[in-house]
């Protein structure tokens, strides 16, 4: 089998993976870095992020404010030592990006501009119009081209981690162009594989967000943490799920029901604020979990607007005026017109909550290290955890940078600590076995199941039972169904048994990842008998700090459902309190 040897191999070349690669190349130009990605780096889903990246920069702001907003926004499930590190590094990372040439939007005096975002008490979201993630990704990708020590393997799909003596040793990947399996030997591996929103049918997430990175670690024995916390973004286009960024509301857009009422005031986020003058951390600038939940409540009351794609509310931006919409939200306007036929300059846009982000992911400590020696993780696939039970918008892009770099430094420290390379025999045996499993899937005949069929059933199960509000009955049903789907997955037969760019095969592998992630979501949700942040149980409506101020850990079992364990949350200075988004309190 063709083999590539590297000091550090990175799986994923989105924001997190590129940041990690650059940090390694800068720290030691002699390091051999392999950057492996199933898509060309600039196709990674970081490109879709619109609103911006949070970091304290302005004089009226402080690290304490960012800390409090993040921890409260996360309903006290965030690890506070990790949040502390995060907010401290955040401004440095954003300035670093500036120095690499990111085209941040500017104030008249030439300093970087910031905008308001949901759940943030101060304006601290750096932005590049409404294509912030796109610019961050392209700035990182183009910057990475100056480092010869970063060797890229574009369109290589990682399939399994290799291990020896309880340490990571590398992984196997399919070269998509040839269909050949390649072995990557590396003493340290960093997983930056992105999120898993595609386990749901209606999502802002692109086709590539199938949880592969999470599944790679999970199957190698690393727990997935807090998987039950799935973020719904309140404002997706009902037709396609395309996101209209929170910056729409940051700039002053408002949400109304069918009676024209700004209904958020009826759900603890009032009193109503003046039109066109948004007030931070209240009404439309409340946190995403609360706003999405308010939508659901209004929908139960019949206050929403029926559309051919389901119920919607209206996002009204007309009062912002054409000039401001064009300057600050050009993509939003373009997409509303293209995909909904509605121009936000002249009409309110129908929107509804849409699956957006996984707060959970690969269990790491605050140095981005997993419990498996040599394995690190960063970005959306990881759970450090700074986001707790509900991520604040614009914390994620910053997280990619801060922990992408942190993972790189930790990998360096790990190498310097004298970590041994794995033996050739262990690597060869592991890789051959991985290739054997792949061949078996590719050549299998007589299977009764199809990729598309199982995927549809999985998505339907998740939508019906693991959405904004959950119950014991629904989750229990989902768990049974997902276990069954995992079993039936073994009977998949591919239609395409050829080698070159076989997307039937790749989608089958992605489905395998998604089923594992989906089951972890459902099992953790079933076991968490409380409501916190994005995890809302109709049968356990209150937060229960006595029993559940803890992270869930799902531990993989190849033949059965995962075992669920718990880990205490790190609390350093902020005791769990009330999340207050009523604008009246100050």
């Amino acid at each position: 089998m063709e083999t590539t040897r590297a000091d550090v191999a990175i799986i994923g070349a989105g924001g997190a993976g590129l940041r990690a690669a650059i940090a390694l190349a800068q720290a030691d130009p002699k390091l051999k870095i392999a950057l492996v990605s199933k898509v060309y780096p600039m196709r990674s889903h970081t490109c879709a992020a619109e609103g911006g990246a949070a970091g304290v920069i302005k004089a009226d702001d402080s690290l304490e404010h960012h800390f409090d907003d993040t921890v409260g926004g996360g309903d006290w499930l965030s690890d506070q030592d990790a949040v502390d590190y995060f907010i401290g590094e955040a401004p440095k990372e954003l300035i670093q990006l500036e120095r690499w040439g990111c085209p941040w939007s500017r104030e008249a005096n030439g300093s970087v501009a910031v905008r308001p975002f949901g759940g943030m008490k101060k304006q601290r979201t750096w932005f590049a119009a409404d294509k912030s993630g796109f610019h961050i990704l392209h700035t990182l990708f183009q910057t990475s081209l100056q480092f010869p020590s970063i060797e890229r393997f574009d369109e290589f799909y990682a399939t399994e981690l290799l291990r020896e003596d309880g340490r990571v040793a590398g992984f196997t990947a399919i070269e998509m162009r040839s269909g050949q399996m390649r072995r990557f030997d590396a003493r340290a591996v960093i997983i930056c594989g992105g999120g898993a929103g595609r386990i749901f049918p209606f999502t802002t997430n692109g086709a590539i967000k199938t949880g592969d990175g999470m599944a790679l670690a999970y199957r190698a024995g690393v727990p997935l943490k807090d998987m039950e916390f799935v973020q719904y973004h309140p404002t997706g286009l009902p037709s396609t799920g395309t996101l209209l960024t929170e910056a729409c509301r940051g700039e002053g857009g408002v949400l109304v029901n069918r009676h024209g009422r700004r209904f958020l005031q009826d759900y603890g986020m009032g009193p109503e604020t003046p039109l066109g003058r948004p007030v931070l951390k209240t009404m439309e600038l409340g946190p995403r979990d609360r706003v999405s939940q308010a939508f659901w409540q209004e929908q139960q009351k019949g206050n929403m607007i029926p559309t051919q794609w389901g119920d919607a509310m209206l996002l009204d931006m007309r009062h912002l005026g054409e000039a401001k919409i064009n300057e600050r939200l050009p993509l939003v306007r373009d997409m509303s017109i293209s995909y909904m036929g509605v121009d936000p300059v002249t009409d309110p846009v129908p929107v509804r909550p849409v699956v957006h982000y996984m707060m959970g992911g690969i269990h790491t400590d605050l140095k981005a290290a997993t419990p498996l020696p040599g394995l690190f993780a960063a970005g959306e696939c990881a759970c450090v955890s700074i986001n707790g039970a509900n991520r604040l918008g614009s914390n994620s892009l910053t997280e990619l940078l801060v922990f992408g770099r942190r993972a790189a430094l930790s990998a360096m420290e790990y190498l310097q600590s004298g970590a041994r390379a794995a033996s050739e025999s262990a690597l060869a045996t592991g890789a051959d076995a991985a290739r054997g499993r792949l061949r078996e899937l590719l050549q299998r005949t007589g299977g009764k199941e199809t990729v598309a069929g199982l995927r549809r059933e999985m998505m339907h199960t998740m939508e019906a039972n693991a959405g904004i509000y959950r119950t014991h009955e629904g989750l229990a049903e989902a768990c049974v169904k997902l276990a069954d789907l995992r079993r039936r997955y073994r009977a998949i037969e591919l239609h395409d048994k050829t080698n070159v760019y076989n997307t039937d095969l790749l989608q089958a592998l992605e489905l395998g990842s998604m089923l594992d992630c989906a089951e972890a979501v459902a099992q953790c949700a079933l076991a968490r008998k409380e409501s916190r942040g994005a995890h809302q149980r109709l049968d356990f409506a209150a937060r229960d700090d006595r029993n559940f101020l803890r992270h869930s850990l799902a531990v993989f079992d190849p033949g059965a459902s995962p075992r669920i364990e718990y880990l205490d949350v790190v609390i350093t200075k902020s005791q769990p309190g009330v999340r207050d988004y009523s604008g009246g309190h100050e």
Partner: protein
């Protein structure tokens, strides 16, 4: 809820099975609001799982789904069925080798992009000047902002007759991206990039047809970038050869 049956003719090529590319017909029920990509996804899911193509974001920023739609370079996620009353013919992007079905080999573009050093090369002296942010006014940002919007979809390469004739030509998007950095007030790397931009297969290969800007889904206007680079390179030449004292 409008639905209609749409006829597709999709180019198929599997190097392991096919001696040559051929067209395959699909007749599928489509919703009126769909884009071509939705129809391809529907075909892949319900009709023919062997069809291969690239896509991810479905919002015209990842740049994956460039293909020829009725002979024009388009993003499949932004080609609305309502704009195509009859048969829709879908082919891989022109001027690129076909890897499989609608998937092209894009090594050439990726290699060329690296050659123009598309990253910030600090101005001499400025590099160590501090670790804080550079100041940049909105007006300075505006000078290059449009050229940062390139999503690397390569539609402009498929539209460019010169690239079809001279494969060595570095092409519209790469020039626009090189120019983007030259025009950035924080950058000092123009002289280095000029080696590629003004070289034999740089801007001078362009005969200014302007097709690149017409097909660009992001309004980058690479033709404008090419024109600006040409003008500036000409000025360079004059200052060097006719007014050498200016260089002193």
């Amino acid at each position: 809820m409008g639905e209609r049956t749409v006829e597709f003719e999709v180019l198929r090529y599997n190097p392991e099975k096919d001696a040559a590319p051929h067209f395959q017909r699909y007749s599928v029920k489509c919703r009126e609001e769909w884009v071509v990509l939705d129809a391809l996804n529907h075909i892949k899911e319900s009709v023919d799982p062997t069809l291969s193509y690239r896509w991810s974001c479905h919002m015209a920023v990842c740049g994956s789904c460039g293909m020829m739609v009725n002979g024009e370079p388009k993003l499949a996620c932004k080609s609305f069925l309502r704009d195509y009353p009859g048969l829709i013919r879908v082919e891989p992007l022109r001027h690129f080798p076909v890897e499989r079905d609608l998937v092209t080999v894009i090594d050439d573009f990726v290699a060329k992009l690296a050659r123009v050093k598309p990253f910030l090369i600090p101005q001499p002296g400025a590099a160590q000047a501090g670790t804080g942010e550079y100041a940049q006014t909105p007006a300075q940002l505006k000078r290059y902002k449009q050229f940062t919007l390139c999503i690397n979809c390569m539609l402009c390469y498929a539209a460019c007759p010169e690239y079809g004739l001279i494969p060595e030509y570095i092409g519209p998007a790469v020039i626009a991206l090189g120019h983007r950095w030259n025009e950035d007030s924080r950058d000092g790397g123009r002289a280095q990039r000029q080696e590629e931009l003004a070289a034999t297969n740089g801007v001078w290969d362009c005969s200014f047809v302007g097709a690149c800007s017409e097909v660009c889904p992001e309004h980058v206007d690479p033709a404008a970038a090419i024109q600006q680079v040409k003008i500036k390179s000409t000025i360079d030449w004059y200052t060097e050869h006719l007014m050498p004292w200016l260089n002193k």
